[in-house]
C-alpha cells in the first residue's frame, strides 16, 4: 500500500476547501484593533474539498475498527456499535441543542439524562448517578474526589491511602495519586482474587478506600467480594467499583449489592457506544445514598413532568466538566438500553461470558492458562506453551494483524507474564470465534515451525512493525514546513 502524504503536503497556495459567504452587515467603523491581530498566519493546509475527502478517506482505510473485523481487545469491550444509535444521535433536535438553552427548550435531552440516571441506578444497584464524567478515568477521578469529600465532611483527614490490587488498571493508581493519595498495592491470591490476608494487614485507619474491578482484570469474579467489602468498611474505607467489566454481570449481579459505595461505568464499553478511535467515552459515576450529596452539580430532577437542573447541592464536589457530560455518548447508550431491555442486557452478559469461556477452553491446549477457572467476559493467557526461543506475546499479537484481527490486550495485567487478555464480547458469532481459535492455534504452530513469520509479523498491514523506541527517543510530534 502506498504511503499517504500528510495533508500539509497536499497544500498549495490558493486552493480552498469550503466557500464562505461574504459579510451581509455594513462595514463597521469599530473593530478589534490591529495590535491584537496575529502577525503570522498559522500554517494550515490550503487544500480543496476533493483533497480533504480523499485524504481522510484514505486514512480511514488504514484503520481497523469493529466494523472491519474482530476486535477482542481485553478490558475494552469492543462490541458492535448499533447503527440505529448513530442515526438517533444525528437527529438535529439533539445535535443542535445549545447547553445553555432554557430548560423549557431542553426537555427532550433532559429526559434522556433523567431516565439514564434511573436506568443506571437500577443496573448497578446504586442510589444516584452523575453522568458528567467524560470517560472511565474521569469517573474514577470523580469517585476519588467523592471519597475525599466524604471523609473530610466527617472531619476525617487522616485517610491518605487508597488500596489497589496489583492486577488493577493503570488509571486506578494514577487517579489516586492525582489527588495526592498514597497507593497501597494489595496482592492477588492464587485464584486471581484479592489476597484477603494481605488486605486485612493493610486496611486501617489511613484507608480512604479500595478500588476494585470485579470481575477483575483477569476476567475473574472475586468470590470473596463480600468479605473484602466488610474488611474495608470495617476499617472505615469506602469501596470503589471500576465498572470497566460490567459487561460480565448485567442483570446478574450488581456492584451496589456486592457492597460497593461508588461505581463508575464506561458507556463506551458496556453500553455499546463507539470508541471513536480513542474517544469520546462517557464515565457516569453512581453512589450509595450517603454519598449522594457529594455528586457533581448539576443533577437532573423532575417535577410535574418537567425536567430541570438541580444546582442547589451545597456539599457537591462541584463540576468536573463543562456542562453535563458527553451528552451524545449518553444518548447512544440510552438508546442501547431501550433496544435491549432487561432480558437483552442479561443475555448480553451471559453470552459475553459464554463466548469467553468457549475460546478459553479451546486455547488452553496451546497457550498457558494461569488461572484455571471459569472466566467471566474475558480471560488472560500467559503466552505460548511451546515456541522457539525469543518468540514473544508481541509477536503473537502482530501476527494476528495479518489475519485482519485486532490483537487482544497484551502485557496487561502486569501480574501475568506475557499476558494476552482476550475479550470477545457477545456481539460476535460462533463462526468468528471458531475462526479466531483456528488462527490462534495456527500461530502457535508457526511459533514452533516457522517462527520467522512471527518475528517479522505483521506482513500485510499498511506498514510493517513500527519502531516505538525511536519514536520516543527522537520525538517528532508535529509536521514542520521545511
Amino acid at each position: 500500500m502506498e504511503r499517504i502524504e500528510l495533508i500539509f503536503d497536499r497544500s498549495r497556495e490558493g486552493k480552498q476547501g469550503v466557500v464562505l459567504p461574504g459579510s451581509d452587515v455594513p462595514e463597521q467603523a469599530l473593530r478589534i484593533p490591529d495590535e491584537y491581530m496575529r502577525r503570522e498566519e498559522p500554517l494550515l493546509p490550503e487544500v480543496s474539498e476533493t483533497d480533504v475527502v480523499r485524504h481522510f478517506t484514505a486514512l480511514s482505510r488504514k484503520n481497523h475498527g469493529v466494523d472491519t473485523g474482530f476486535y477482542p481487545l481485553g478490558s475494552c469491550t469492543m462490541k458492535y456499535n448499533p447503527k440505529i444509535n448513530e442515526d438517533i444521535a444525528q437527529l438535529d433536535g439533539f445535535t443542535g441543542l445549545h447547553p445553555c438553552s432554557p430548560e423549557e427548550l431542553s426537555q427532550g435531552s433532559l429526559e434522556v439524562l433523567y431516565n439514564m440516571d434511573k436506568f443506571l441506578v437500577e443496573i448497578t444497584g446504586m442510589d444516584r448517578m452523575s453522568l458528567q464524567p467524560a470517560a472511565g478515568a474521569h469517573g474514577e477521578l470523580t469517585g476519588a474526589m467523592i471519597i475525599k469529600a466524604y471523609h473530610e465532611s466527617r472531619g476525617d483527614y487522616k485517610r491518605d491511602k487508597i488500596i489497589i490490587p496489583d492486577s488493577a488498571h493503570g488509571t486506578n493508581p494514577a487517579t489516586a495519586s492525582m489527588l495526592g493519595y498514597k497507593v497501597i498495592e494489595v496482592r492477588s491470591d492464587s485464584r486471581g482474587g484479592i489476597d484477603l490476608q494481605h488486605l486485612k494487614e493493610i486496611a486501617g485507619q489511613d484507608t480512604a478506600g479500595l478500588m476494585l474491578t470485579n470481575p477483575n482484570t483477569l476476567g475473574l469474579f472475586d468470590e470473596n467480594i463480600i468479605e473484602i467489602c466488610r474488611i474495608v468498611h470495617d476499617a472505615g474505607g469506602l469501596l470503589y467499583y471500576d465498572g470497566a467489566n460490567l459487561n460480565a454481570v448485567m442483570g446478574i449481579s450488581r456492584p451496589g449489592d456486592m457492597g460497593f459505595d461508588i461505581v463508575h461505568l464506561n458507556l463506551h464499553k458496556t453500553f455499546s457506544t463507539p470508541h471513536g478511535g480513542g474517544g469520546p467515552g462517557s464515565g457516569p459515576v453512581g453512589v450509595k445514598k450517603k454519598l449522594e450529596p457529594f455528586l457533581p452539580v448539576p443533577l437532573i430532577e423532575k417535577r410535574n413532568s418537567r425536567y430541570f437542573f438541580d444546582y442547589d447541592r451545597p456539599q457537591s464536589i462541584g463540576k468536573v466538566k463543562m456542562f453535563y457530560g458527553n451528552f451524545q455518548v449518553i444518548l447512544k447508550a440510552y438508546a442501547y438500553i431501550l433496544a435491549m431491555g432487561a432480558e437483552g442486557l442479561k443475555k448480553a452478559s451471559e453470552t459475553a461470558v459464554l463466548n469467553a469461556n468457549y475460546i478459553m477452553r479451546k486455547l488452553e491446549d496451546k497457550y498457558n492458562l494461569p488461572y484455571n477457572r471459569n472466566c467471566k467476559h474475558e480471560f488472560v493467557l500467559s503466552g505460548l506453551k511451546d515456541k522457539k526461543d525469543g518468540i514473544t506475546t508481541m509477536d503473537v499479537a502482530k501476527r494476528l494483524l495479518d489475519w485482519g484481527i485486532h490483537p487482544p490486550t497484551v502485557y496487561f495485567p502486569l501480574i501475568v507474564k506475557d499476558a494476552l487478555m482476550i475479550e470477545p464480547t457477545e456481539t460476535e458469532s460462533k463462526e468468528t470465534l471458531d475462526r479466531f481459535v483456528e488462527i490462534m492455534k495456527g500461530i502457535a504452530k508457526e511459533a514452533v515451525e516457522s517462527d520467522q513469520l512471527l518475528r517479522e509479523a505483521p506482513h500485510i498491514t499498511p506498514v510493517r512493525r513500527l519502531d516505538e523506541v525511536q519514536a520516543a527517543r527522537k520525538p517528532i510530534l508535529r509536521w514542520k514546513a521545511d
Binding site: 480511514s60 469474579f221 467515552g281 448480553a348 494483524l401
Partner: protein, 446 residues
C-alpha cells in the same frame, strides 16, 4: 433473538457442551448466591428498531434546537461543512479504539499527528497532545502541570475566566490541595492591579482566558509579563476560531495554551462531546498529560506513526503518571483536524472576521436601542455584554415567544451583573436575524 447477539440457541448448546458446562448459570457459580440479582432488572420493555426511531424522533422534537440562538458562553454554533460528517462517520474511524496497535491504526494516528500540528500552528506552541476531555479539564490539567513545573501550589483565576472553567479547575484543585484565588475584573478585563497584588512566590499558575467569558480580548502580553515576573506559569485558555485572526498564545507569552476545540466542527450536542486541546513549549513536553502521537519508521524504514512518550502515561507509569487520562476525545480531534483542513488559514480567518463584523454590528445596533447599552468598552470577539434597564429574564421570555434564545443571563454567575446579557453572534447569524432580534428588543414592554 435479541438484537446485536448473534449466538443462536444451537450455538449456545454446542458451546456449553464444548466448555463442559451444563448451563449458562454454571458459568456464574463463582458469584455468591446472596449478591446475585434474583429478579429481572426493572427497565422498559425492549423496543424494536422501528419503535426506537419513532420514540427518539419525537423526543428530539421536544428540544427547541431550531430556535435562533444568540448564546455562546462556552459552546458555539459555527457552520459545520458537510464533509465533516461524511468523514467522521467512516466506520473504520469511529468503531476503532485507541491505536494501541499502530500497524492497523495508521489512519487515526496520522490524523492525530496532523491535528497536533494544527494545534501547534494555531497556538504557536511546539507540542500538542491528542486531546483531553474538554476546555475546562484542559485548564485544570494545565494547572496541575504548572504546579508540577513550579513546585508551587496556588492558582490565580481572574473572574473573567468562564465560570464553568473556574468551577472545574476549583474542583480539581480542591481535591488535590491546590489553593484557588480569584482575581477581579474591570471593564470586562482582568484587573491587572488586583492580579499583581495576589501574585506571590506560592503562585504556580495564572489562567487567563482570551477572548474571555465576556468576549473581551485580554491584554495578555502585559498580564503574562507580570505572571512570569513572579515565577508562575502563564496558562492561556484560547478560542480556536479567534486564533485564525488573533495573536497566538505563544507569541503572547503563554507557557501552556489550552482551550475547547468544540467550535472546530463539533455540533453543540447539549454540551458534549467536545475536546480540550493542550499545547506547550518543548521543554514541558514530557509533563504533558494524555496521548501524543509521534512519527517513526517501520522495519523497512517506511514512515509510520505511533503513540509515543508513553512513559508519561498511566498504563506504564501508573501512580507516577502525569495524569490518569486514558480514553480521550479522539473523534472530536479528528473532527477538528478535518475542519481546519477544509478551512485552511484563509477560511479560518474569514470565519473569525465574519464573527467580528457581525458581532460588532449586532453590538452597535443593540446599543442603539434605548434601555440597552454595552457594558464594557473593551475590544471583543464574537460575544459582548449588554446591559438593560429591563429584567433580563423578561427580555428572554419575550424573545422566546418569537423563537429566539436571547443572550446568556450573567447574573447567574455574576450577582453584580444584574440584567446583563452575554450575546453571541457567529458567521451563521445573518443580518436579518440580528435586525429581527433588535426589532423585538426595541418593542415597548408588554
Amino acid at each position: 433473538m435479541h438484537p446485536y447477539i448473534p449466538i443462536t440457541e444451537v450455538d449456545r448448546e454446542e458451546m456449553l457442551a464444548s466448555i463442559g458446562a451444563g448451563s449458562i448459570e454454571e458459568l456464574f457459580e463463582d458469584i455468591p448466591e446472596v449478591i446475585r440479582l434474583g429478579r429481572k432488572l426493572e427497565l422498559p420493555d425492549r423496543k424494536p428498531e422501528m419503535e426506537l426511531r419513532n420514540y427518539f424522533r419525537e423526543l428530539s422534537m421536544k428540544n427547541g434546537s431550531d430556535y435562533l440562538c444568540f448564546r455562546g458562553a462556552g459552546a458555539y454554533r459555527h457552520y459545520i461543512p458537510s464533509i465533516i460528517g461524511h468523514i467522521v462517520s467512516r466506520s473504520e474511524f469511529y468503531t476503532a479504539y485507541t491505536p494501541y496497535q499502530p500497524e492497523v491504526s495508521q489512519g487515526i494516528l496520522q490524523a492525530i499527528f496532523e491535528y497536533q500540528t494544527m494545534i501547534c500552528e494555531l497556538t504557536g506552541m511546539d507540542v500538542s497532545n491528542a486531546s483531553v476531555y474538554d476546555g475546562a479539564t484542559a485548564a485544570a490539567e494545565a494547572v496541575f502541570m504548572a504546579a508540577d513545573i513550579t513546585g508551587r501550589s496556588k492558582v490565580l483565576l481572574p473572574l473573567s475566566v468562564s465560570p464553568d472553567v473556574r468551577r472545574v479547575i476549583s474542583t480539581y484543585c480542591k481535591a488535590s490541595g491546590i489553593e484557588v484565588v480569584e482575581a477581579a475584573y474591570s471593564q470586562g478585563l482582568t484587573d491587572i492591579n488586583d492580579l499583581k497584588s495576589k501574585l506571590d512566590s506560592e503562585t504556580a499558575a495564572v489562567v487567563v482566558q482570551s477572548p474571555n467569558f465576556f468576549g473581551c480580548i485580554e491584554p495578555c502580553r502585559e498580564l503574562f509579563e507580570s505572571v512570569h515576573a513572579s515565577g508562575a506559569a502563564a496558562v492561556m485558555h484560547a478560542d480556536p476560531i479567534s486564533l485564525g485572526m488573533l495573536e497566538s498564545p505563544a507569541e503572547l507569552g503563554a507557557d501552556i495554551a489550552v482551550g475547547d476545540g468544540q467550535p472546530l466542527g463539533n455540533p453543540l450536542n447539549f454540551g458534549g462531546p467536545y475536546l480540550g486541546f493542550m499545547a506547550v513549549r518543548e521543554k514541558h513536553m514530557r509533563r504533558l498529560p494524555g496521548r501524543i502521537v509521534g512519527e517513526t519508521v517501520d522495519r523497512h524504514a517506511n514512515r509510520g506513526f505511533v503513540l509515543t512518550l508513553q512513559a508519561r502515561e498511566q498504563h506504564i507509569r501508573r501512580e507516577k503518571a502525569s495524569s490518569n487520562i486514558c480514553t480521550n476525545q479522539a473523534l472530536n480531534a479528528l473532527t477538528a483536524a478535518v475542519y481546519l483542513s477544509i478551512m485552511g488559514s484563509k477560511g479560518l480567518k474569514k470565519v473569525a472576521e465574519l464573527c467580528m463584523q457581525k458581532s460588532y454590528y449586532a453590538a452597535q445596533v443593540i446599543a442603539g436601542i434605548s434601555k440597552y447599552s454595552l457594558a464594557f468598552g473593551s475590544p471583543f470577539f464574537r460575544e459582548f455584554v449588554v446591559k438593560s434597564s429591563s429584567k433580563a429574564g423578561d427580555i428572554n421570555l419575550k424573545l422566546m415567544e418569537q423563537n429566539i434564545i436571547g443572550g446568556y443571563e450573567l447574573e447567574n454567575d455574576y450577582p453584580e451583573l444584574k440584567n446583563h446579557m452575554l450575546f453571541c453572534v457567529t458567521e451563521i447569524i445573518s443580518k436579518k436575524d440580528i435586525d429581527n432580534l433588535v426589532n423585538i428588543l426595541g418593542r415597548r414592554g408588554r
